[in-house]
Amino acid sequence: MTARLRRPVATGVLLAVAAVLLAVSVTVAVTIGPADLAPLDVWRSVVDHLAALGGSGPAEPALGILRDGIVWEIRLPRVLTAAAVGAGLAVAGGVMQGLTRNPLADPYLLGLSSGASLGAVAVLVLGVGVLLPVAAFAGAVVAMVAALSLAGSLGRITPARTILAGLAVAQLCAAGTSFVIFWSATGDSYREILAWLMGSLAGADWPAVAIAGGAVVVLGTGLALQGRTLDAFAFGDTAAAALGIDVNRTRWTMLTVVALLTGALVAVSGSIGFVGLILPHAVRLVVGAGHRRLLPLSALLGATFLVWADTAARTVFEPRELPVGIVTAFLGAPVFALLLWRRRSAAGDLA
């Protein structure tokens, strides 16, 4: 009937499939780990806990307190945090790429990860007496304010200025971070810092799930619903304005929301790279660049991706653990190269 409906697969079907894939991934990932636990035992433990939350359920965990703790205190919060962080970073990345019309944009564009790193090393190295996630979030917010102020200081905030201001802030914070590490790091603190800088989900607990999950559900959903606006942005600021969008205010607002979302995620997991950059591109390859499909799908697939990346990070070298950022970089870099190679012939198409 209409040109639009000539899409091979409807949006709803794709979202449903992606959601199922995520659910299955979470369910399977939680049974994988260095400790030897049978899948059925793991699931039973989770169900028992959920029942206990609802008021019913056994008083004593079937697995014994310690092994039950492995499931409920270590594995499940970690897998859920991975899903939340993956979803959030993917959406944030897609939005940043749309806002700046730049395919190389990622959630950390405003210098967020560098600012958060500075906050983190302040705690890890200088021993500032603040909770690590709080310090990291504060650092991200400071970087965001600095970058946006710098970008907007000359009047209207444009994509080019945003990118450059973000770069400037990122470099400054990175210099500060390097200085603090070089000057003050003692003994083994290098390892902790490195794990944080690479991005790690180790130690993710239920508060982390709440922070990351809350940020994704509240802020991420809000962003994902801005698909039409971002599509309009793709045509340039003039066209977007002619379509009735308040370009300046919309851009400021969305940048701020992305920054807050990313700040919350980085506070919990450190700066995990490549997810925000690569996932939207990978999804575009499959379903095209229309943001109304791209953002929700990126969220679901980003969540699934990070769940599996983290599972690999904690089992490939077991009993040793890798920071998950190393795994995403290993996976992300070749994928990125592949994407660039595939696009080499499409003249001017930088999706």
């Binding site: 703790g69 003994g187 083994d188 077991e318 653990e321």
Partner: protein, 344 residues
């Protein structure tokens, strides 16, 4: 983490130039003072080195070092090396120390009181050379680099010998497959030979061997976690280093023994699965045993470990966990703490 290594190197090149100009003066001064044999009042067992013990040529971590006489002006980096000289009774030859890991044991406190401290961290090349040493004795190989105390070849050209604790060699060909007390004793003997005090080493080694022999390992077959640092990802003593050596001596089974490394990153999940009977906490100034105790008790992932619930903790000072003269006393002390652990 982007430490500007390249600009450091350029800075060092500049420094090296300055140093190279003043080097001849250093070499002359060094040569002059080495002419007389030295006796240390702290250890009557020290004798003047016999003339035909030298020259001594060693392959130290893949770097060939030749000593034509006993070093008289030593810069020590890391507590293990400082304490080594103090234990051998030649503490008066120390002209500068760097990067201490903690206070020296009480028996050396008096001798250590006046030692000039060059730096809290690794001293820079210029600072190290200002002390006009003829030997830089390092506990970690990484401290002997261009942006540390100096590149080994560069220092050698300036007439400064360098020596790294053999157990700390990074090159797999030189890293001991498994650290043993015999290995530690060999180190003591080797450095004592270089310093010209072999008899002091003999006495020290004999003393430590006796202490070790008297040590009765715990026979309850207990498992242990050697928890060094790290919060989300624990950094633990693994299978081939000093922690393993000490745990073997006191009769503890290391849950990370299967990891072929000196220390390694581990996972709390594995710790929970293994549920060790006791936890050895390393006490360092930057990461105290108390802080680790607190962490273990409050982290829901570890709060239910048997050792945490029953507070079965053993404490060992950080400096004692590097290969050196403190390993045996640490093992003895640990054995004593272990004997007090009641499994009831």
């Amino acid at each position: 983490m982007r430490v500007a290594a390249q600009s450091s190197a350029r800075r060092l090149a500049g420094l090296a130039l300055v140093v190279a100009v003043s080097a001849p003066l250093t070499a002359c001064a060094g040569a002059g003072s080495a002419a007389e044999p030295s006796t240390s009042p702290a250890s009557p067992a020290t004798t003047a080195p016999s003339a035909d013990a030298y020259p001594i040529t060693l392959d130290n971590c893949g770097f060939e070092v030749t000593f034509t006489q006993a070093p008289q002006r030593v810069v020590t980096i890391k507590s293990s090396t400082t304490e080594m000289l103090l234990a051998l009774g030649v503490g008066d030859r120390i002209v500068g120390t760097g990067f201490p890991d903690g206070p020296v044991p009480p028996e050396y406190a008096a001798a250590a009181a006046d030692l000039p401290v060059l730096s809290d961290r690794v001293p820079s090349s210029e600072v190290a050379l200002e002390a006009e040493p003829d030997l830089v004795y390092a506990g970690w190989e990484s401290t002997l680099s261009a942006d540390g105390a100096g590149d080994r070849a560069t220092l050698a050209d300036l007439g400064v010998a360098t020596y790294v604790s053999p157990s700390a060699c990074k090159d797999p060909a030189y890293q001991p497959e498994r650290l043993t007390f015999d290995g530690v004793f060999d180190e003591i003997t080797e450095i004592a030979g270089v310093l010209g005090v072999p008899a002091a080493a003999e006495a020290l080694v004999a003393e430590q061997r006796t202490a070790l022999a008297d040590l009765a390992p715990d026979d309850r077959g207990l498992t242990a976690l050697w928890y060094s640092s790290g919060t989300d990802i624990p950094y633990v003593g693994a299978g081939i280093g000093a922690p393993q050596m000490i745990m073997d001596a006191v009769g503890l089974t290391n849950i990370a023994a299967g990891v072929t490394d000196t220390w390694a990153s581990f996972s709390w999940e594995q710790v929970a699965a293994d549920d060790p009977d006791v936890i050895v906490l390393v006490d360092a100034a930057w990461n105290s045993a108390e802080a680790k105790r607190e962490l273990l008790a409050t982290n829901p992932a570890t709060a239910n470990l048997t050792a945490v619930l029953n507070e079965r903790y053993l404490v060992v000072p950080f400096a004692a966990t590097e290969a050196g003269v403190r390993n045996v006393p640490a093992a003895v002390d640990l054995a004593g703490q272990l004997a007090d652990v009641d499994l009831g």
